[in-house]
Symmetry: none
Subunit: 250 residues, 2 copies
């Protein structure tokens, strides 16, 4: 299969999966389509142990990494994409059909790591999980029965990412900042807003999740990110210094 | 969902399936993508009984028809398509990639019944089964691990048949913020950086022009711009208030 080094850059992230059969099925589909990097966030422990013995995906499962939080699992990825049935929630992030999203993902794999998130079988991705995503992707399903089995959803998404392995004209040449850096910026900004009274813990004018989305929509480049971090640190230092807070060291 | 009457003409035919979970998964994927006609040839009886109770596919399973032979199951279909990993056998029938085959199937559904055959989990379709097929279709998988799970293979094939029936997703049309607003943001930020000591008029750590470029590269949307302006105003107010500057009115 071509482009395997690019495929290596895709991290399939299962968030809080419950059923070992689904973890095994996801790993098998990954192996079928040549994506070998599985990350599991906060799985039911017994489920993960059982999945390890699943047929036909041992190579993927042997190197699967386990994380405590979504934030930890996506920190080295420049693009974070969530999957959703897009029914229940008010989504702020852009929502793409899987075929359009997959094309974007293919393009971005040429230059950096991409995380593709799948939520738990019962509830999908939470709003907190979604706030880490740059955009969302959905498989077009029937309105009367939109919710797919997890293993099948993974198979369809990966099939679509692998579908056009022929090179498309390269377009996007800005290297975007990694998730870890964007998250650091989000935290600093949140802190600055708290210190300024814009955010008030009990009745937050803007919730941290919304702020995270707002920052992610900026499409911060890898080159500019450190500059923004530096500016925010300075502002924050001044805010703390002025209010006599002890936290004046950056 | 559009074309549902055409989708009714597709018969998904599982030949000698062994695992009730796979029968249930196939039925669920069918329901997700709007194909409701499942036929099962010579299943393990216990497996089929168990599958009937599968979650999320009861409507499909309730009307599933059982046949003794492939011949009986495809007799009312004008086109019969087999699925295969195309490894072991010498195939006489033409072999198409699933995306090309799916397009053909869509075309034929406009005028008549089409049967899409999937073999058993262990052995796939037999040569006898294949002899009923006009042509064959395969999902492109990795050479080292070509064989897909049955439920996932059904999901990918049906996804591909349904793939082009929907109106194309509208392209991302984020309306960007106007220059005036971006400039206002730039000024506020510059002011905040001055108040924080990040910018020093004589030996500016960052010149205003560079800051302007930095802000413009963010691709700020028209919807988000006022939120950013609001946040910056608040931070600036706090910076001024703390330093006892007279300019605390916004």
């Amino acid at each position: 299969m071509p482009h395997s080094s690019e495929f290596e850059r895709l991290r399939v992230v299962l968030v809080a999966p419950r059923n070992p059969l689904n973890i095994g099925a996801a790993a098998r589909a990954m192996s079928n389509f040549g994506f070998l990097q599985l990350r599991v966030v906060n799985p039911y422990e017994a489920a993960f142990r059982e999945a390890r013995s699943a047929v036909g995906a041992s190579a993927v499962l042997a190197r699967t990494e386990i994380y405590k939080t979504v934030n930890d699992a996506v920190t080295d990825c420049a693009l974070v994409v969530g999957t959703t049935t897009a029914r229940q929630r008010e989504l702020e992030a852009p929502l793409l059909q899987v075929k359009d999203g997959a094309r974007k993902i293919r393009g971005r794999l040429r230059s950096g790591g991409v995380a593709l998130l799948f939520g738990s079988e019962k509830r999908g991705l939470s709003n907190l999980d979604l706030s880490h995503c740059h955009w969302l992707m959905r498989i077009p399903t029937r309105e009367d029965h939109p919710s797919m089995n997890l293993g099948q959803a993974v198979a369809v998404c990966l099939y679509e990412v692998a579908r056009e392995t022929r090179p498309v004209a390269p377009k996007e040449r800005v290297r975007l900042a990694r998730s870890g850096e964007v998250e650091r910026l989000t935290r600093l900004l949140f802190e600055a807003l708290s210190a300024s009274g814009y955010v008030n813990p009990p009745s937050a004018a803007i919730k941290e999740e919304r702020l995270r989305q707002l920052v992610r929509r900026l499409r911060l480049s890898a080159t500019d990110a450190p500059v923004w971090l530096g500016m925010l640190r300075q502002i924050l230092w001044k805010l703390h210094a002025a209010s006599g807070s002890p936290d004046t060291q950056q």
